[in-house]
Amino acid sequence: MPSVEDEVLPAFDPDAFTAVAIHSFAEGRFPATHTQIFGLTFPVALDYDSEQFRRFRLPAHVFPLNVVFDEQGAVAHVGTELEDAVAVVETLLGG
């Protein structure tokens, strides 16, 4: 999460790119603590029924799961490595 805040977000135009952390289940202590400890400024959301995780899950992987949506709202990437997701973002933004 700090990598997204400190490295990924500053690397892209905020008008063209955004990030969201989605924490599964309603228990909010963990994400709220993360928000505080790491000083996160991007949205940290609660997924009350883990719906998004079920939607994008990968076989044999649990978390974290990085998903990239393109400008048209299509799934552009699903994977576990942040570097791979960032590379897809760069490609989509012509970087």
Binding site: H23, A26, G28, A32, I37, F38, P43, Q52, F53
Partner: protein, 521 residues
């Protein structure tokens, strides 16, 4: 506070429940329970807890479907309909309540509803200050600031600040705005116009405001923590000199961030979403912590009537209380739509003219509460229980978060699913073959099975128990749903952030989005 204990009727042998006795009992045996021979094949996942968490060894208890009083009953169907989701509310000094949401401000009073369209109020309505005489000022996280006159049906003035606004309070012919990292802003109200904003020094991340005799109390975000040292940092409450003298006092307390302040029944409450609720004391120029209650849900707002507290937590309504020992948890009512993209969030509550009211999506509805009783409370790991393709069996758990023994009389699922209590791990109560007792704080494991007749299935799981809030707890079950693939259109979704804001995937079209999903069940 534990009230209304009564003698239990009849007694079963061992395997009894720990904790308290029921408030009321009868001798019905309830529904047909099922027992299981235990696991037969592999493929179980998500098992958590242990047999030791289950039925304890305490005093004998009654067979039968012990009943308890439902102390929390929202009456969503009895409410009034608003043009959009009700996002904030406040009780009016003249009676009734003020409500706001995207594009509207309304006055609800004794069944009458005056709704004013306010196109300049976009995003999520975050604050609402009653000016009296039908006038109010509302704010939004899109930076909108509007002054309305509901009596005249007019928007008097409005503008958009270049930063989010999280709260607003009125005093001394001005409104004060919680403007996040911009701090607290003071805006004079002069002849129907909003004056220029002036910074009130002393706040770093103003999220919530409350006027007190001692000054302006601010829920001021947090002091940055240290992942290696949990004693560093925490939620910050600050008392400001409203005349510009800066911070007069500061309290840094507990993990998380301070988001909201509410005054009710002569008490001051601070909200730390995801962590809980604080009761604060402001006296002698100091801010101190009177009591604190850990609540896992992301509380967005609280209202109180004496010792009775009602909290809006997005996905649920919570009944809390103040006791001699401090704040206490009483009951929870989960919203019925369970996270649908256009589902109805519970964002706001108020105590209005002697009754509790709550916003539920676009409804403003009454909520009945009763004095705290001991009672069981079913809680499950998810609203949807998931099996992967080809999986025929999985072990799940349900918890009793209540204060009395939970009596589970059946767990069942639609065909081709089936469900049954893992009776080898959690045996039925001796002498009560149709009941599985879960003591307060305990867990009951059950099997969810699929007959493998089709690769993809959806259905419903039902848990029958003596939980007074939800005697039939309904959850979804699914098996083999294929995950989204690259190239698929993203199915729209809407999630609530830890500070009570929306993230709607539909608002992100035109942008590339990195969604980082973590800590799944």
């Amino acid at each position: 506070m534990i009230l209304g204990l009564a003698a239990i009727l009849g007694a079963c042998g061992g395997g009894g429940a720990g904790g308290s006795t029921p408030a009321e009992t009868d001798t019905d045996t309830g529904g047909a329970g099922t027992t299981s021979g235990g696991p037969s094949t592999g493929g179980a996942d998500d098992s958590s807890g242990s047999a030791e968490d289950g039925v304890g060894e305490t005093e004998p208890v009654a067979c039968g479907d012990a009943t308890y009083v439902d102390v929390l009953t929202p009456r969503w169907d009895d409410g009034a309909s608003l043009p959009a989701e009700v996002q904030r509310s406040t009780a009016r000094g003249e009676g009734g309540a003020l409500l706001c949401g995207a594009g509207f401000v309304a006055r609800a009073d004794a069944g009458e509803l005056d709704v004013l369209d306010v196109p300049g109020l976009t995003g999520t309505c975050t604050g609402l200050a009653d000016l009296g005489g039908g006038q109010a000022v509302a704010t939004s996280d899109a930076g909108d600031l509007v002054w309305v006159d509901l009596a005249a049906g007019a928007v008097l003035d409005g503008r958009t600040e270049p930063h989010p606004l999280f709260d607003v309070v009125a005093a001394k012919g001005a409104v004060w705005l919680a403007a996040g990292t911009e701090g607290v802003l003071s805006v004079p109200l002069v002849e129907g116009q909003l004056g220029a904003a002036q910074v009130v020094p002393g706040a770093d991340d103003a999220r919530g405001l409350l006027t007190t005799d001692a000054g302006l109390l601010v829920a001021d975000g947090y002091v940055l923590g240290d992942i290696e040292d949990p004693t560093v940092g925490g939620a910050r409450y600050r008392l400001l000199d409203a005349d510009g003298g800066g911070a007069q006092a500061e309290l840094v307390e507990g993990p998380g961030f301070a988001q909201r302040l509410v005054a009710a029944s002569g008490r001051i409450f601070g909200i730390r979403p995801g962590h809980g609720l604080d009761e604060l004391s402001v006296s002698g120029g100091r801010v101190s912590l009177a009591s604190s209650l850990q609540v896992d849900e992301g509380i967005l707002e609280v209202a109180s009537d004496g010792d009775v507290l009602l909290a809006a937590a997005g996905s649920a309504l919570l009944r809390l209380s103040t006791t001699e020992d401090g704040l206490a948890w009483v009951a929870r009512d989960v919203r019925p739509d369970r996270g649908a993209v256009d589902g109805a969030w519970i964002r706001t509550v108020a105590h209005v003219d002697g009754a509790f009211m709550a916003g539920h999506g676009g409804r403003w509805a009454p909520v009945d509460t009763m004095a705290a009783q001991v009672a069981p409370e079913v809680s499950v790991e998810a609203f949807t229980f998931t099996m992967t393709e080809g999986q025929t069996e999985a072990l799940f758990g349900l918890d009793n978060l209540g204060t009395a023994p939970l009596r589970v009389t059946d767990v069942m699922a639609d065909a081709p699913f089936s469900a049954e209590v893992a009776a080898d791990i959690n045996p039925p109560t001796q002498g009560c073959p149709d009941e599985f007792l879960v003591p307060p704080g305990g867990r009951l494991l059950f099997w969810l099975r699929h007959d493998d007749s089709e690769p993809v299935s959806e259905g419903t799981l039902r848990i029958l128990s003596n939980d007074p809030d939800q005697p039939t707890y309904v959850a979804s079950v699914e098996r083999g749903r294929p995950p989204a693939q690259v190239g698929d259109a993203v199915e729209p979704f809407r999630v609530l952030t830890v500070d009570g804001r929306d993230f709607d995937s539909r608002d992100q079209l035109g942008k590339v989005v990195l969604a980082k999903l973590y800590n799944p069940l």
